[in-house]
Structures are given as C-alpha cells and as structure tokens.
C-alpha cells in the first residue's frame, strides 16, 4: 500500500464538498455582491470623507442629543412592541398548538392573512380606524362614552399599534413551532403527579416553550428597530425612529457619511441583540432551522 491510495470514502467526501461549494457559489456570489460589498461600502463612507479619514460622524453620537433621543425612542418602542406581542401572541400560539388540526390551521391562517397585505395598506387602514373622525372615535363619541375624540394616531400609540399588528406573526409562528413539539405526555405526567394546571404550565410548559418565546422576541425586537413606513405615516412627525434619522440625513442635510454611521451603529445594535439572545438559545433556533 502506497500513500497515494486514499480512503475511498474520504475521496467521496471531498468530491461532495467541492460539489456543495459549486452549488452554493451562485448564492454566495449574490450575497457578496448585493449585501456584503454594499455594507462594507456603507461602513467605509462613514469614516472616509473628502479624501480623509474622519470619526466626525461617530462623534455626533456623543454630542448630538437628537441621536440619543432617537435611539432611545426606537429602543423603547421596540421593547413595548415586543412585550405586547408576547402578551397577545402567546395565548394564540398556545391555543393553536393545543387545538385539533383543522382549528389550528384556521387560527394560523388568520394570523398569517394580514401578513400578505402590504405594510403601506395596513398603515392606512389603521389611520382610517384610529384617526379623529375614524371608526373607533366615531363609535365612542356616537355611543356617548366620550365627549372629545381620543388621540389614537399620529403619535407613538398609533405607531405601536400598527407595528404590533405587522409583527405578530413573527411571534406566533416560532412559538407555535416550539409548542407543537412539546410532548403532551409531559403535561399529563405533571398533572398526574398532582400539579395544578397553573403549576404544570409554569413548571413544565412555559420552560419548554422558552426557545420559541425568545426566538419570537428577538425577531420582533430586531425588526421593530428598523421600522420606517409605519412611524413615518402614523407617528405624526414626533415619533422619530432611527431609520427616519437615516433618511432625514440624506433628504434634508445630504449627509451620506452621517447616514452611513447611523446605519452602522444600528447594525451593531442588531448584532448585539442577536449575540445576547444566542447566549440564551442557539442562533439556529432563533432563525427556526431547528
């Protein structure tokens, strides 16, 4: 036996790897050209201006109160939206996971149905519902419950409402997927050992559903951070989120460097959120592959 003879299975494995790479190449190329390179270009623009290296755009994060206020408001809205989608989404996922199949299909369809409507259309739908002469205020004043219409939209409240509506599926679906995999025998066992329904839920079901819960929370939180159309249309001009700060820097001040630096910082924030979450559960589970 000479060294040149290789283990046939090893050879096969190498060939397979090469084939995999070849198959992946188009996708990788697309990602590199359309995502990685533009992102690098974006980062480059934030530190290189008029032929020189500069940190001026990042200094603004320390000095400009608008930047602080915008990031703070964005994170606050993201936190509120995340909490409320948990409150609204968890029971829905719970019922859907426990119900007979045709019911769970119906429930999931109802969750997904608005998902196929454009964000823009849904923003205007909320406007029709929530505005001063809108359906809700008309009903409330018409029935004599209130005298003056409530301010439901063109503020943070309206923005949060519409954002929850848009992002609810991102909470319900990971939760449902996780709950579906929790064996019913476990809760039965808990109950047969004398646990009250509440006790069984808190000690058995809830911990087992945590991966789905965290996955949903991370998705909703991160997606809210980048919201643009909804706060722009329903925020009344005073709900100011990071994405709007980016667009204003280009539209009003024509500051590409400043806009780039904000995008870079927001992206770092998103990575940090994913990193923190992956300490709790593996990243693949957040993305729903396992």
């Amino acid at each position: 036996m000479t060294k040149s003879t290789r283990n046939p299975s090893e050879l096969h494995e190498r060939r397979e790897q090469r084939l995999m790479l070849l198959l992946l190449a188009p996708a990788l190329l697309v990602i590199i050209i359309l995502l990685v390179l533009p992102l690098l270009w974006l980062a480059w623009q934030s530190i290189w201006q008029d032929g020189r290296f500069t940190l001026a755009h990042y200094e603004r994060f320390l000095t400009d109160s608008v930047y602080w206020a915008t990031f703070l408001q964005t994170f606050r809205i993201a936190a509120i939206v995340t909490l409320l989608t948990v409150v609204l989404g968890y029971p829905v996922a719970y019922v859907a996971a426990g119900a007979p199949q045709r019911w769970s299909i119906l429930i999931l369809t109802m969750v997904l149905l608005p998902f196929w409507t454009s964000v823009l259309v849904r923003a205007y739908a909320w406007l029709i519902l929530l505005q001063r002469n809108g359906i809700i205020n008309s009903a409330l004043t018409g029935s004599g419950l209130i005298d003056t219409p409530l301010r439901l939209v063109n503020n943070e409240f309206g923005t949060v409402m519409a954002t929850i509506h848009i992002l609810l599926p991102f909470m319900v679906l990971p939760l449902y997927a996780t709950m579906k995999k929790i064996p019913g025998e476990l809760t039965m066992a808990g109950a047969s050992l004398g646990g009250s329904p509440m006790h069984v839920f808190l000690r058995v079901f809830l911990p087992l559903s945590l991966p789905g819960l965290i996955a949903g929370m991370v998705l909703v939180f991160v997606l809210t951070l980048g919201f643009y159309i909804t706060p722009e249309l329903l925020g009344g001009g005073r709900t100011y989120m990071v994405s709007m700060l980016v667009s204003r820097n280009i539209e009003v001040y024509n500051e590409w460097g400043a806009a780039s630096s904000i995008s870079v910082v927001l992206m770092i924030c998103v990575f940090l959120v994913f990193r923190l979450a992956s300490l709790l559960i593996p990243f693949e589970r957040i993305m729903g592959t396992r």
Partner: protein, 346 residues
C-alpha cells in the same frame, strides 16, 4: 468620492438614449417627476422643443441636490438644465457645480423682478404655503393670519404644520408680530420660542404633500399650513376646506444649468425659451402652480378667475411673503434646519 451605483445605471441609460438621437440638438432637462413633471411636459417642454426644434430628454429626481453633487464629484455631467429650489442652484453655484447664467442670452427674463433671479438661477414656477382651514368648523370666521393660527383660544382645534422649518419659522415670526418686510434675516431663536407655544396644539407634523392633503380631507385637523396645489385638489374633491393667499409663503423652483453641462449652448437657449411668457402662461392649464415669469399674466391666456387661484399672479403675490432662498442656503439657514430635528423631538 460619492460615486454611486445608480449613477452608473443612469449614465448607461443616458448613453443609450443619446446614441439614438445624436443628429438633432438636444438638452437633458430634470425635474421632480410625478404629476408635476407630466404637466410640465405638456405646458412647457413640448412647446419649447417645437419652438427651438430640439429634442428635450427628460430625467427626474425628487431631490436633485445629491445627484448634482455626485455628478460634479465624479466629473460625469449628464444633466443640462435642472428645475429645483433656488437654494440648490445658489449653493451649487457657490460650490462650483452650477454655471453662472448669462442673462444677456436670456432676454425673456428681462422683465422679471430681481428677487426672482440670482446669478445662478431664474424662477420657473411658483407655489405657496397657505393657511387652509375646515369651513364646517369655523364658518364665517375662519383663521386668516398666522396670529390667528397661534390663537388657540379664539380658534380652538387641531392643527398641523409641515415637519420642516422652511416657511414654518417665517409663520411663527409673523404670528409673533414681526412685519412681513422685516422677516429676513430670520430671528431663529425667536421663531423657535414662538413655535414652542403652538407645539402642544399641533397634532401632526406632516412630511409629504399627500399626507397634508389627507389630513384636511379626513378632517383630522381643523387648520394647517399646506401647499396651495394640494389644498386646491382637496377643495376640488368637495371637502369643506377654505384657504386664502393672505400671508402665504411664496416659494418657487428655479431653472439652473450644471457647470460643464454637455449641451451648454442649447441649455441656455432652452432656459430662455422656457421663460417665454406665452409658454409660461400654459402652466395654469395643467397644474395649480403659477408661472415663474409674471409677464405670462399679461398674455391674456390666463383667465382672471384662474389667475386668482395662482400663487404668482400679481394680486396674490402682493399679499404674500417671498421666501428668501438666499437666507435658507446661508450657514444660518442650514443651522436652523439642523436645529429643527431637536425641536421636533423634545
């Protein structure tokens, strides 16, 4: 430095376009797109092309400024004539990106008021920021001045202003008693102080013209500052909305030519032709924006009724304030714009 991918696409498409029409004289004209550019095509561009026997290529950009900067920085000038707020022409001129206009070659601008011109620009089309109100709400006694707009006791109701300092700071100063002819240079501190007063009563700071129209049409607000074209459209739809040009803020877009424009000579001819009173008088037939050349009102083409709806008719211009683009493009004006964001957020 600020070379962008879209520019490559743009120059490629322009090259293809140019190759096809290489024989006739031509010019590339840029405006803001949408219904406004369509109206111009019929009112101005087609007649000018016919008058001069040239081909007018069109491009559009909602905000020309970043593209001007990009073309100048990359040295690949594709555009010739731009229709954009005069402030872009002036600061572009000061930064060496916009060509000085030789007014001896633009006789049609001769009779235009000096305030409508700058070394780099000439007024092309007028619009106005007016005070619009809900007629059902205020009946016979609507708010007529910015002082009324600020008077929440006499005129209670929800208000809206544009989420932008331009014309808004001016309105605050008029409401605070500054005489219209002493507005500029704006007392920015005083204006923001006055705006703090009205801020709790402003339910929406609108960002797009469509949004401002919607607020009026849906009755979401009882009074707002909005562009006359948008208000007129809402009125036409039958909404109970009134407005007047009194204390309106007259604004205009200007024509200017890029420095190093590929068709410089034709561009100058184009600018002159576009200001022909008879061609300028076509504007009101297609859109609620007024001609930039007041001579258009003397052609007899614009009926007195239609002239009364036009922001730039001599009667209406007289009761409005002309927004000073020079001030807004000055460092003080740019600072005021930067200060706006922190004002809105606090």
């Amino acid at each position: 430095m600020t070379y962008r991918l879209s520019m490559i696409a743009l120059s490629a498409s322009a090259a293809v376009f140019l190759a096809g029409t290489a024989s006739a004289e031509q010019v590339t004209f840029v405006s803001q797109g949408g219904a406004y550019q369509e109206a111009q095509t019929k009112a101005i561009l087609d007649p000018v092309a016919e008058l001069l026997g040239i081909t007018v290529n069109q491009d559009s950009s909602p905000d020309a400024w970043p593209v001007i900067k990009t073309q100048a920085a990359s040295g690949k000038i594709i555009w010739d004539v731009i229709d954009t707020p005069a402030k872009d022409c002036i600061r572009g001129g000061e930064q060496g990106m916009i060509a000085k206009l030789d007014f001896s070659k633009i006789p049609n601008a001769g009779k235009m008021p000096a305030a409508y011109k700058s070394p780099y620009s000439v007024a092309y089309e007028f619009y106005s920021s007016v005070l619009a109100y809900n007629k059902d709400k205020f009946g016979d006694n609507p708010p007529k001045t910015w002082a009324d707009f600020w008077d929440v006791k006499k005129f209670p109701g929800a208000r809206a202003l544009r989420n932008h300092p331009l014309a808004t700071l001016e309105a605050a100063l008029l409401a605070d008693g500054v005489p219209a002819d002493k507005l500029y240079p704006l007392d920015v501190d005083r204006a923001f102080k006055k705006l703090e007063e009205i801020k709790p009563h402003v339910s929406v700071w609108w960002t797009s013209g469509a949004q401002s129209a919607q607020l009026l049409a849906d009755g979401e607000v009882d009074m707002e500052m909005a562009w006359n074209g948008r208000v007129a459209a809402v009125v036409k739809e039958g909404a109970p909305i009134g407005y007047s040009f009194n204390q309106g803020f007259l604004q205009y877009t200007s024509l200017c030519i890029l420095k190093g424009a590929p068709n410089m000579e034709t561009a100058v001819k184009f600018v002159n032709a576009a200001l022909t009173p008879d061609i300028q008088a076509n504007f009101p037939a297609y859109i609620d924006y007024g001609p930039g050349n007041p001579e258009a009102y003397k052609t007899g083409k614009i009926s007195p009724e239609r002239a009364a709806e036009m922001p730039s008719s001599p009667e209406n211009a007289a009761i409005q304030v002309l927004v000073a683009d020079e001030w807004w493009s000055s460092p003080a004006g740019e600072d005021a714009q930067k200060r706006w964001a922190s004002f809105i957020q606090q």
